[in-house]
């Protein structure tokens, strides 16, 4: 629940700085001076110097005070519980001592410093978001208790970690929170985040200042400040190094001297920074030069702030902290109800925009600019059996494939909807979101009507997600908007309320107005709101189509917000749906639609989008259009020129995913079908014996088996499809797949095949196997086979501490090909988690993998636990470092030297 944040501003100058009316000067580097004092090797964690050598820290910080710094940063970069674990000191002790030292040095203001945890967060690393949040929360509370005036989160490379830190500090304290990330020469952090993405994400979370530090010198940093400023609703902050680090005689040195540093800082001030200081290599002399520079510079001209045309009462999560320091509020303890403050984005360079980001990519629609962004709709189980089945089976890879395909097709944002009755939506939505973020860089739209699911996913989301949706119902607004505000999301509002969807444009506008006003009352500025005027089917509500288009135009004109439409509803009940949809899409663009939700794999829609981007000027110089279309024949002319046979009225038949006629790609099935008539007996060269059941289809079987050996999935699927017309799926598995996989395994054992060949063959079989499963599921009335693990269920996992999972994945795929149900627990799995899964699923066989000698201890513990708690459950082990001898030693029931061997172990186990 978003409650008004109490902000404590302790000092008049700080209040002026927070309002953007004064510069705030931080100190410079600490490490260089600690080294000069000969103290750099005293502790592994240098923050302990606060306790053991307070006089030395005070002496260094006093130099910065004397140089004119307004704010001294505590020496607590590493003072988190992870890094202090190896010491006797607590987090609270270190912050207390550090803040006392800064005060003793005469610091006018003390900033409680929080650096990165040093561990990488999920999904790339192993630290969870909630663990990171707890760690930072402890530090923020310690800093506040120690009497710090503000908190500075600095040198972050991971946007998600920065988000955890800012959120923890904002929610656990009443202090202003400043945040900087560190960027390389390519203008990105290690994890690919740009300054613009950092600014929009962190300022939306409530940071009072967002900026850049470390890594680069002022000259290199200046253009990055320019990139950041327009996206930052908070103050702009910059703490560069004294130039680029250079190695000289094995030591890191910085070349930019104090005067040169101050000179270069001018460009950074010009770009909009009002909170400045130095990082590595900077000294009190650098800070003194910077002091002289800003003292001689006119104060930032707040008076000239241009209030965005459509945001007269705009306020945001960010504006809360910023607004709290605005002129009408005296400094001291302040309670600032969100959304009731005067507009006071303290950063003059801020340009309002509707923005959605991942950690690596941003879709931004600035106010006053004609731009469109495509939202890909394919990750939504409504009407998609395969996706629904994949969600039920926990097959996230299927979703990744859908996401990657939409990315390639040019989607700007991906809609993610995992609503399947019976599934735990909050858990699933955050799990799917995490997986997609680890594989595809597009920003995501969290599509759910459940506020709990939205919050679960938005919290751990790396970036700024778009929430779809709220509607005009009072209870819905009250449930969803606090989540949107708390996590700095952007949001889609649907123009429906307690009375349903109104028929006229004016009534839709009225609901939209209410949604925007309510959002603003929660501190969500209107540039963060998009309105969906809700498309009705032309077949059933023909008169409303024009009203929808008029509503889009009205909402844009009167409210100045972005618009969204789910385009394909319009064609419901009509033939030639893509034709209807794309025509409506063009009309909607004309009315002012900004973000269509559609299937980007459809070439017809892509054509309309690409063409409209010429008309609205987004495709500058028509470059993208020329590149894509200059050498493309008009599909209509092609159809007319070649032949009109089968084409009605000179048009092409429409249907399926692609509006364009697919040129002539003969399927391998047709190739197979075109082969000579079946001969009696086994075709020459068939790698497996033909059983009686398939005597009538010997050629197809032979073709299938050869394609498996060649690792070609598409023809295997085609041949399987053909066989399924006349044969039972189980027979195909037992008489064809299993024997041919045995041949593959044998070839692998003999060294005729190497690993990628084994896998390509297994994958080819999987293509056929998936078809058989689909057929079986279509035949069965209910999808009952997915959750209840069958008789032949096997659990696989990579043991705790080990993050290698390729071997385990190969084993999984092969086992599935042999018809086993495989429950994949992933990598780095704790013994207790394996036990719990074995209990839940009642799987009788468990496969454990370990690649590192250091992690086989965890394998042994897992085996012991399973044998102790679940007698009768067997464990097979494998992995690069495991031998038969070793397997015996740690009490494993079976040893599989490779993936092929694991199938033999499993077959023997279940056939006994």
């Amino acid at each position: 629940m978003a409650t008004p944040r109490k902000l404590t501003v302790t000092d008049a100058h700080l209040a002026e700085a927070l309002a953007g009316r004064a510069y705030l000067l931080f100190d410079g580097g600490m490490g260089t001076l600690v080294q000069a004092a000969g103290l750099h090797a005293v502790h592994a964690v240098p923050d302990l110097l606060n306790l053991t050598h307070p006089e030395a820290i005070v002496a260094i910080q006093r130099q910065y005070v004397e140089a004119g710094a307004d704010c001294i940063t505590t020496n607590t970069f590493s003072a988190n519980r992870l890094k202090l674990a190896s010491t006797d000191a607590t987090v609270a002790e270190v912050y207390a001592a550090a803040a006392a030292n800064a005060r003793a040095a005469g610091a006018p203001l003390v900033a409680g410093d929080i650096g990165p945890t040093g561990a990488l967060l999920e999904p790339l690393g192993t630290l969870t978001f909630d663990e990171a949040f707890d760690i930072f929360s402890e530090q923020a509370c310690a800093a506040e208790a120690a009497g710090c005036d503000l908190i500075v989160v600095e040198t972050m490379a991971d946007l998600l970690e920065a988000k955890a830190a800012v959120l923890a500090a904002v929610e656990s304290t009443t202090l202003p929170v400043f945040a900087t990330m560190t960027f390389g020469e390519d203008g990105r952090t290690f994890l690919g985040t740009t300054p613009a993405i950092a600014a929009t994400t962190l300022s939306a979370l409530g940071a009072s200042a967002v900026g850049l530090n470390c890594s680069l010198g002022p000259t290199e940093l200046a253009p990055l400040v320019g990139e950041l400023a327009p996206h930052d609703r908070a103050l702009v902050m910059a703490q560069p190094n004294a130039g680029l680090p250079r190695i000289q005689d094995g030591e890191t040195v910085f070349d930019v001297g104090p005067n040169e540093f101050a000179q270069a800082m001018e460009a950074i001030l010009d770009a909009g920074a009002t909170v400045v200081g130095g990082c590595c290599g900077t000294t009190p002399d650098h800070i003194a030069a910077l002091r002289a520079l800003i003292d001689a510079r006119p104060l930032p001209a707040v008076a000239s702030v241009s209030v965005p045309a459509h945001a007269p009462v705009a306020s945001s999560v960010a504006a809360v902290s910023a607004g709290s320091a605005s002129s009408r509020i005296a400094w001291g303890e302040q309670s600032e109800p969100k959304g009731l403050s005067v507009p006071s984005v303290p950063n003059l360079r801020y340009c309002p925009a509707f923005t959605v980001t991942s950690a690596q990519q941003m879709a931004s629609l600035p106010e006053g600019e004609a731009r469109i962004a495509v939202i890909g709709e394919r990750i939504n189980p409504t009407g998609k059996k395969k996706l629904k089945a994949a969600l039920q089976a926990g097959d996230v890879d299927y979703l990744v494939a859908e996401a990657a395909a939409q990315q390639r097709a040019g989607a700007d944002i991906l809609d993610v909807n995992v609503g399947v009755p019976g599934l735990d939506e909050p858990t699933l939505l955050s799990q799917v979101t995490r997986t997609l973020q680890a594989t595809v860089p597009l920003p995501l739209q969290l599509d759910s009507s459940d506020p709990v699911a939205i919050e679960a996913a938005a919290r751990g989301y790396a970036g700024r997600p778009m929430v779809n949706s709220v509607n005009g119902k009072a209870d819905n607004l009250a449930a969803v908007l606090p989540v949107v505000a708390r996590y700095g999301c952007t949001v889609v509002g649907l123009t429906l309320d307690e009375n349903g969807i109104p028929p006229t444009a004016e009534e839709r506008l009225a609901i939209a107005e209410r949604i925007v006003a309510t959002a603003e009352s929660y501190g969500i500025p209107r540039e963060d709101v998009a309105i969906d005027c809700l498309v009705m089917a032309a077949a059933t509500n023909q008169d409303e189509v024009r009203e929808i288009l008029r509503a889009v135009a009205l909402v844009k004109e009167r409210l100045g917000v972005r618009t969204v439409l789910g385009v394909s509803n319009v064609s419901f009940g009509l033939p030639a749906r893509p034709l209807v949809n794309s025509t409506f899409l063009a009309a909607a663009f004309g009315a002012g639609l900004d973000m269509p939700i559609l299937n980007p794999l459809n070439a017809r829609y892509r054509d309309t989008v690409a063409t409209f981007r010429i008309l609205n000027g987004q495709d500058a110089g028509c470059r993208a259009f020329l590149e894509a279309y200059a050498n493309t024949a008009d599909p209509y002319e092609v159809a007319a020129g070649i032949s009109t046979a089968g084409v009605v009225g000179g048009s092409i038949p429409v249907g399926g995913d692609l509006g364009r006629p697919s040129s002539s790609k003969a399927t391998p099935l047709e190739e197979g079908g075109a082969s000579p008539a079946p001969t009696e007996g086994v075709p020459a060269g068939c790698p497996i014996p033909i059983t009686e059941t398939f005597a009538d289809a010997a050629d197809v079987v032979s073709h299938l088996a050869e394609c498996v050996l060649e690792g070609r999935g598409t023809p295997v699927a085609a041949a399987t499809e053909q066989l399924l017309e006349t044969h039972d799926g189980l027979a195909v598995i037992n008489d064809i797949f299993v024997p041919v996989l045995d041949v593959v395994g044998q070839k692998y054992d003999e060294g005729v095949f190497f690993l990628p060949q084994l896998m390509a063959s297994a994958e080819a079989v999987k293509a056929g196997f998936d078809l058989i499963r689909d057929h079986a599921q279509a035949a069965a009335s209910a999808p009952g086979t997915t959750n209840a693990a069958g008789d032949r269920a096997i659990i696989v996992a990579t043991v705790q501490g080990d993050i290698h999972d390729i071997g385990k994945n190969i084993v999984k795929m092969l086992l599935e090909n042999y018809g086993f149900t495989v429950i994949d627990l992933g990598r780095d799995v704790a013994p207790e988690a394996v036990l719990a899964a074995a209990r839940d699923t009642r799987a009788r066989l468990i496969g454990l993998s370990a690649l590192m000698t250091t992690t086989v201890g965890a394998m042994e513990r897992t085996i012991q636990l399973i044998h102790e708690q679940l007698p009768g459950t067997a464990v097979m082990v494998g992995g690069a470092v495991i031998t038969q001898e070793f397997a015996d030693q740690i009490g494993a029931d079976f040893y599989a030297k490779d993936a092929a061997a694991s199938t033999r172990v499993a077959s023997a186990f279940f056939d006994d």
Binding site: A119, L124, F190, A401, G711, F754, E763
Partner: protein, 220 residues
């Protein structure tokens, strides 16, 4: 620093256990994976030179002491393909297990080649100062434990300069990262012999050795 290099296709195949098998369609798939890695990934490296005594304080074990015995200076180096490699490999694995495996091997080769480039740079720079270099020696080889990785990352600057982390089990993230030690000693000419399988405690279970390769460049 950025390290310009390419995937060594033959090395990637060797990582996959290739011993002359007919490649067929796989040749094309491997090429695609290699191009993908070269296009999307930027290998970067960092190194720090220090007195041998300072380095050995961080690096426990007899083998590393023997490796840099007689060296006055020691270089700690780190190379990574960045978190982009984690994303790329996860995506490729999700789309196809085979393509995922091929991309993984190509990425392994790319980071290995990047380490060679940085190694060459270090050797050259040392030679200009009249110092000769030993071969590379990495944590996890011999009795140099993986548990030295966290301190290694800090001491080499790889944590801040490259964003490499170590997990609780001391594995590097991004996984396509290499840390290694090079010793420098007064003299010129030959690169001195370093580790040998005959003295390595993990030789029995070494995956490289099983393929007839070694961690120090020479045949077993």
């Amino acid at each position: 620093m950025e390290l310009k290099t390419r995937v060594d296709r033959e090395e990637a195949l060797a990582f996959l256990g290739h011993r002359g098998q007919e490649l067929g369609d796989l040749r094309e798939r491997l090429e695609r994976a290699a191009c993908l890695c070269e296009k999307e990934l930027v290998p970067r490296g960092v190194y720090r030179e220090m007195d041998a005594s300072e380095a050995l304080a961080l690096l426990p074990g007899r083998d590393i002491a023997r490796h840099v015995g007689g060296c006055t200076r020691v270089v700690l180096l780190a190379v990574t393909l960045g978190t982009q490699s984690e994303m790329l490999l996860r995506r490729e694995r999700a789309l196809s297990a085979t393509d995922g495996l091929l991309a993984d091997a190509c990425a392994s080769s790319l980071v290995e080649q990047a380490a060679n480039v940085l190694n060459g740079h270090i050797v050259e720079e040392a030679a200009a100062r009249g110092l000769a270099a030993t071969t590379r020696f990495s944590p996890g080889y011999g009795d140099l434990p993986l548990s030295c990785q966290p301190a290694f990352l800090v001491a080499s600057g790889a944590d801040r300069a490259l964003g490499i982390c170590a997990t609780a089990a001391h594995l590097l993230v991004p996984a396509k990262s290499i840390t290694a030690v090079i010793g420098l000693y007064p003299g010129r000419g030959f690169v001195r012999e370093g580790a040998r399988c005959s003295t390595c405690p993990v030789a029995d279970t070494c995956a490289l050795r099983a393929q007839g390769r070694t961690c120090y460049g020479n045949p077993a």
